[in-house]
C-alpha cells in the first residue's frame, strides 16, 4: 500500500492527527505576562499616535498598551472594546503589518514595531478569560432594528445598537453566526472555537436575538423588514465568487477556495477532510494564501499559488506571502490560467506567462503546466445584489455612515462600497452605522 501522503487524488488522512494538530496550532501563541510587560514597555506613548490613525476602528493603542504596562490588562481590554467590540478577533486576524504596526514609529526607527496585535490579544484574552462583559445596556428605547448578516459588520452594529437600548434581531442565512470569522478566517488564526465564544460573549450585552437559517431574498425580504422594524442594517458580505472563465472549470476537483475553507472550518476532525496531492490555488489575496497554507497543512504534497500579476501587486501582505512560503507553498507570479486539463476530474492546469502593461495583461507567448488533482479558485468574491438598492462598483452604494439609497436602510462591511475588505473595517462600519441609526431614531 502506498503511504497516504502519496495517494493520488483527493483523499483524507494524508497526515497523522498529531501532524495535523501541529500544523493548525495557534499562529501567534498568546504572550505570557512577562512578555507582555516587556513588549508594552517598548511603546513610546506617542502624541497623536500614528498607530491609532492607521487603525480603522481608531483604538487608543498607546493608552491600552500603557494600561498593560501598569498591570491593568482588563482596563486595557475595555479601552479596546470601547472602539472595537470584536477586538479579540481583530487581535488575531488583522494584517497589522499593513495597519497599526506599519505606522508604528518603531517600525520607522528600527524596522521592528511594537507588537500591537499580540498585546491586544493579551488584553482582550484577560477580560474574556474571566468571562466579564465590560458594558451595560442603556434604558430601553422601544425601537427595533433588523440586522441582516451576523458577520463582523452585523455583530458590531447589533452590539452598539443594543448598548444604546434598542431591540435588535439579527438574521443570518447560515446555521451559525459569525460570518467569515466562523466560516472564512484561517483555522490557525482563531483556534479553540474562538469565533463562537466571542459571539456568545458579545451577546451578553443583552437585547440581541439571533435568527439563523434566514436568508434575505428567501425566508425574509427587505420590504417586510422595512415595514416591521424602525431601521435595517445590511452586513451580508460577499456571497458570490468570480469565475475563471476557462475551459475545464466544471471538472471535478475545481472549486471556490472559500467553499473549501468553510468546509475546513466546520470539520470536526481535520484528518477526515479530503485534500489533493497536487493542489493549485489561483489568486493573490488572503483567501488564496489561506487556502494554499491550509491545503499544505492537511498534507498536500505540492501546493502552488499562481497569481497573474507581480508579487508587489498581491493584496496579501508580504508577511502573508512569507508565511505561505515558509509552510512550503510555492508562489508563482505573472501567469494566468488558460485551461484546466481533465478527464472528468482535474489532472493539470495550463498557464501562460503574462506581463503587466499600460493596456492590462499581455501574453508573453510561453506556457507551463502544473499537475493538479485539486484546483482552488480565489480570484475574488462578489455581492449577491439586493433588489432595490443602488450599487457602486458592484457593491451597495453608501453615503456617510453607511446610508444606502433606501430610506431607513444602512449597509456596512464587505457588501458596502468603500473601505478594505477586512474584519476590522467591517467592525468600524457596523459600529458607525449603529451610531448613525441611533442618532436618526432618537431625532424625535
Amino acid at each position: 500500500m502506498t503511504h497516504p501522503s502519496l495517494t493520488p487524488g483527493i483523499v483524507p488522512g494524508r497526515l497523522s492527527a498529531e501532524e495535523i494538530a501541529a500544523n493548525f496550532a495557534d499562529l501567534h501563541p498568546p504572550l505570557s505576562d512577562h512578555e507582555a510587560h516587556v513588549e508594552a514597555d517598548r511603546c513610546y506613548f506617542c502624541h497623536d499616535a500614528p498607530c491609532v490613525t492607521a487603525c480603522p476602528t481608531s483604538i487608543d493603542i498607546p493608552m491600552f498598551i500603557r494600561q498593560i504596562a501598569a498591570d491593568n490588562a482588563k482596563g486595557a481590554a475595555r479601552t479596546i472594546f470601547e472602539q472595537n467590540i470584536l477586538g479579540g478577533m481583530c487581535a488575531r486576524v488583522c494584517p497589522t503589518e499593513q495597519l497599526c504596526e506599519e505606522a508604528c514609529v518603531r517600525q520607522t526607527a528600527e524596522g521592528d514595531p511594537v507588537k500591537i496585535g499580540r498585546l491586544q490579544r493579551y488584553a482582550t484574552d484577560a477580560m474574556m478569560a474571566v468571562n466579564a462583559h465590560p458594558f451595560e445596556r442603556a434604558a430601553p428605547t422601544g425601537k427595533r432594528v433588523a440586522v441582516v448578516g451576523a458577520g463582523p459588520a452585523g455583530l458590531a452594529c447589533a452590539h452598539r445598537l443594543a448598548m444604546k437600548g434598542h431591540e435588535v434581531v439579527v438574521f443570518d442565512a447560515r446555521p451559525k453566526p459569525g460570518g467569515l470569522n466562523e466560516y472564512g478566517i484561517a483555522a490557525y488564526k482563531t483556534v479553540d472555537g474562538f469565533a463562537q465564544a466571542e459571539v456568545d460573549w458579545l451577546l451578553r450585552i443583552g437585547g440581541i436575538e439571533i435568527r439563523t437559517g434566514q436568508r434575505l431574498g428567501a425566508e425574509i425580504s427587505l420590504e417586510a423588514l422595512r415595514a416591521e422594524y424602525d431601521a435595517v442594517f445590511l452586513g451580508i458580505g460577499l456571497g458570490g465568487v468570480n469565475a475563471l472563465r476557462v475551459e475545464g472549470e466544471d471538472a471535478e476537483g475545481v472549486r471556490p477556495a472559500v467553499e473549501f475553507i468553510a468546509d475546513l472550518r466546520q470539520a470536526q476532525d481535520l484528518s477526515k477532510l479530503p485534500i489533493g496531492r497536487d493542489v493549485v490555488v489561483i489568486g493573490g489575496g488572503m483567501t488564496a494564501i489561506d487556502a494554499a497554507v491550509q491545503a499544505k497543512a492537511l498534507g498536500a504534497e505540492n501546493v502552488t499559488l499562481v497569481y497573474r500579476r507581480g508579487r508587489e501587486r498581491m493584496s496579501a501582505s508580504r508577511y502573508e506571502q512569507d508565511l505561505a512560503a515558509s509552510r512550503g507553498v510555492v508562489l508563482k507570479f505573472n501567469a494566468r490560467p488558460v485551461r484546466i486539463l481533465a478527464n472528468g476530474a482535474a489532472r493539470a492546469v495550463e498557464f501562460e506567462y503574462v506581463a503587466e502593461g499600460p493596456d492590462g495583461l499581455r501574453p508573453l507567448g510561453e506556457t507551463f503546466t502544473l499537475r493538479a488533482d485539486q484546483v482552488f479558485k480565489a480570484i475574488g468574491q462578489t455581492l449577491v445584489p439586493v433588489e432595490g438598492l443602488a450599487l457602486e462598483g458592484g457593491k451597495i452604494a453608501v453615503t456617510g455612515a453607511g446610508r444606502t439609497s433606501l430610506d431607513g436602510v444602512w449597509a456596512g462591511g464587505d457588501c458596502a462600497a468603500g473601505g478594505d475588505d477586512l474584519t476590522v473595517t467591517a467592525v468600524a462600519e457596523g459600529r458607525d452605522a449603529a451610531e448613525d441609526i441611533h442618532a436618526k431614531l432618537m431625532e424625535g
Binding site: 512577562h34 510587560h37 516587556v38 508594552a40 514597555d41 513610546y44 506613548f45 506617542c46 502624541h47 497623536d48 499616535a49 500614528p50 504596562a69 514609529v105 518603531r106 520607522t108 526607527a109
Partner: protein, 433 residues
C-alpha cells in the same frame, strides 16, 4: 595599560574596586571567591559584639524592577553579621594571610560606649586587617538599638566614637556615613574633627518598596507586617554622587579621602564617583545581582577609558570633576542654548511635542506630516525634550555663539560670564564693577 593600583589612606589594592560591607563579604567562602574573581578589596560584613544578632526568617530583601526585570533598586532589612565574632575574626585572618595584596577592611558596629570600641579593636588588629570602617549608616534594626544611623545622625557622636577609635588603634579609620540626614557635610566634618582618615558613603536610604494591595502589608512583608529598610542599587547613584561631591568641595573637608558607594554597577559609574573625589569605590548591589564576575567588566572598562583618554594612574582622574561642581548662583546666565531636532533621526513619535506643549514652554511646533520643529522664539533650553526623546542623539542643545541674537529675548548673546550674584533681578545683587 592604565595603572589601576590604589593607595587609599595607606591601604593598598590592585584596583579601586572593593566589595562593600554586606552579604557578599559575610564569610570566608565568599571573600575568597571574590578575590579570585578579581576584586581589589573588601570591607568585611559589619561585626558586632556577641551574642550575635539574629535576622528575620521571612524575606529580607525587596526590589523594584524595570519591565524586563532589570533590578533598579534593592532594599533590605538585614542586620549586621549574624555569626559569632570569633568565627569572623578567624576567617578574616585566614583570608588576609592568603591574599596579602588585597585590601581587607573590617566594618564595625558596637554600642556607643568607649570600652566596647576599645575592646574590639585589638581583636581586629590581631587579624592583620588593613583598616576599619565604622558603620554609622545601617538605617534599620540596629538604629533602634542606638547604633548605626542613630549614631550617624548625630555629628557629636560620630566625632566622639571616631576619636575613641583613633586613640585605640594604629589602623586607618574610615567612617561610613548615612544618607538619612539633611546635610551630609555635617557628619563628614564631625568625622574629620574626630580624626578619621577617610569617609565612605553612602549607606542605604530609608525606604518602603511597595504595598501589597491585597492584604495592605508593606513589602517586603514578614507575616503581614513590614518595616522600613535600606535602599540601594542603581536608583540611588545620583543621590550618592551628590553627597560625595558635597564633601569633596566643602572647604572644611576638602582633601579628606572618600570611598564612594551607592549604585555602582559598571566602570562608568565608578569613574564618575572617582571624578567627583572618590579614591576608591565600593559595590554591593551589582555583585548581589550579577555575581562577582562583574568586577572584570569594571576593570576592563576603567582601564580602557583611561588608556583612550591618556590617564595613566588613578590620581589623574580622582577629583577631576570637583572644581566644576558649583553652587547654582555661579552658573553662567549668559550661556544660551536652543534645542535642535535632527530631522533625519526623528521617528516622529511626538513625545517632545507633548512634553513641551503640555508641561513646558510650547516651544515645539507640530507641522504637516508629523514634522516636529523647535520654535527658537519660545525655547528656554530646558532639556525636557532631550530627556523624553526615545532616540539618543536626535535632539541636541546647541549653544548660541556670542554675538548671535537670542530670538526669545531679542538680546545679543554676550561672550562675558555673568551669574546671579550680579543679575539685575537679584535684590541682593552686588553692583557690577
Amino acid at each position: 595599560m592604565a595603572d589601576l593600583r590604589t593607595d587609599f589612606v595607606g591601604i593598598k589594592s590592585p584596583n579601586p574596586f572593593w566589595l562593600a560591607s554586606a552579604p557578599p563579604t559575610d564569610k570566608e567562602y565568599n571573600v575568597r571567591r571574590a578575590f579570585e574573581a578579581g576584586w581589589g578589596g573588601v570591607v568585611w560584613k559589619t561585626l558586632g559584639l556577641d551574642p550575635h544578632v539574629v535576622n528575620v526568617n521571612g524575606p529580607r530583601y525587596g526590589a523594584i524592577w524595570g519591565p524586563d526585570r532589570r533590578l533598579i533598586g534593592l532594599n533590605n532589612i538585614e542586620l549586621i553579621t549574624d555569626r559569632p565574632l570569633e568565627v569572623n575574626l578567624r576567617e578574616i585572618k585566614a583570608v588576609k594571610r592568603d591574599y596579602p595584596d588585597r585590601a581587607m577592611i573590617v566594618s564595625l558596629m558596637v554600642p556607643c560606649e568607649e570600652e566596647c570600641w576599645k575592646g574590639i579593636l585589638p581583636l581586629v588588629e590581631e587579624t592583620g586587617a588593613d583598616g576599619i570602617e565604622l558603620n554609622f549608616g545601617c538605617p534599620h534594626g540596629m538604629s533602634e538599638r542606638g547604633m548605626g544611623s542613630a549614631v550617624g545622625q548625630v555629628p557629636e557622636y560620630i566625632e566622639m566614637v571616631t576619636r575613641w577609635c583613633k586613640q585605640a588603634t594604629r589602623m586607618p579609620v574610615i567612617v561610613k556615613l548615612t544618607p538619612n540626614i539633611t546635610d551630609i557635610r555635617r557628619p563628614a566634618r564631625a568625622a574629620k574633627a574626630g580624626g578619621a582618615d577617610a569617609v565612605s558613603l553612602i549607606n542605604t536610604i530609608n525606604s518602603i518598596m511597595g504595598v501589597n494591595l491585597d492584604d495592605f502589608s508593606p513589602e517586603p512583608s514578614i507575616d503581614g507586617k513590614g518595616s522600613h529598610g535600606g535602599y540601594c542599587g542603581p536608583a540611588v547613584k545620583p543621590i550618592a554622587l551628590n553627597m560625595v561631591s558635597e564633601i569633596a568641595r566643602d572647604p572644611e573637608t576638602a582633601g579628606l579621602p572618600i570611598s564612594g558607594i551607592g549604585g555602582i554597577t559598571t566602570w562608568r559609574d565608578a569613574a564618575e564617583f572617582m571624578a567627583l573625589g572618590a579614591g576608591s569605590v565600593q559595590v554591593c548591589t551589582a555583585a548581589m545581582t550579577y555575581g562577582f564576575r562583574v568586577v572584570q567588566e569594571m576593570i576592563s572598562g576603567l582601564s580602557g577609558w583611561m588608556d583612550e583618554k591618556g590617564h595613566r594612574t588613578l590620581s589623574d582622574i580622582v577629583g577631576r570633576a570637583v572644581p566644576n561642581v558649583t553652587d547654582w548662583n555661579q552658573l553662567n546666565l549668559n550661556y544660551v542654548a536652543k534645542a535642535k531636532i535632527n530631522q533625519d533621526l526623528c521617528i516622529k513619535c511626538g513625545r517632545c511635542y507633548a512634553a513641551c506643549e503640555d508641561t513646558s514652554h510650547q516651544a515645539i511646533a507640530m507641522k504637516d506630516g508629523r514634522v516636529f520643529e523647535v520654535i527658537d522664539e519660545e525655547c528656554v533650553a530646558c532639556n525636557l525634550c532631550v530627556n523624553v526623546c526615545p532616540v539618543e542623539g536626535c535632539i541636541d542643545m546647541v549653544p548660541l555663539a556670542p554675538g548671535e541674537v537670542d530670538p526669545r529675548t531679542g538680546k545679543v548673546v554676550s561672550g562675558e560670564y555673568a551669574n546671579w550674584t550680579t543679575h539685575p533681578n537679584n535684590p541682593a545683587a552686588k553692583a557690577a564693577e
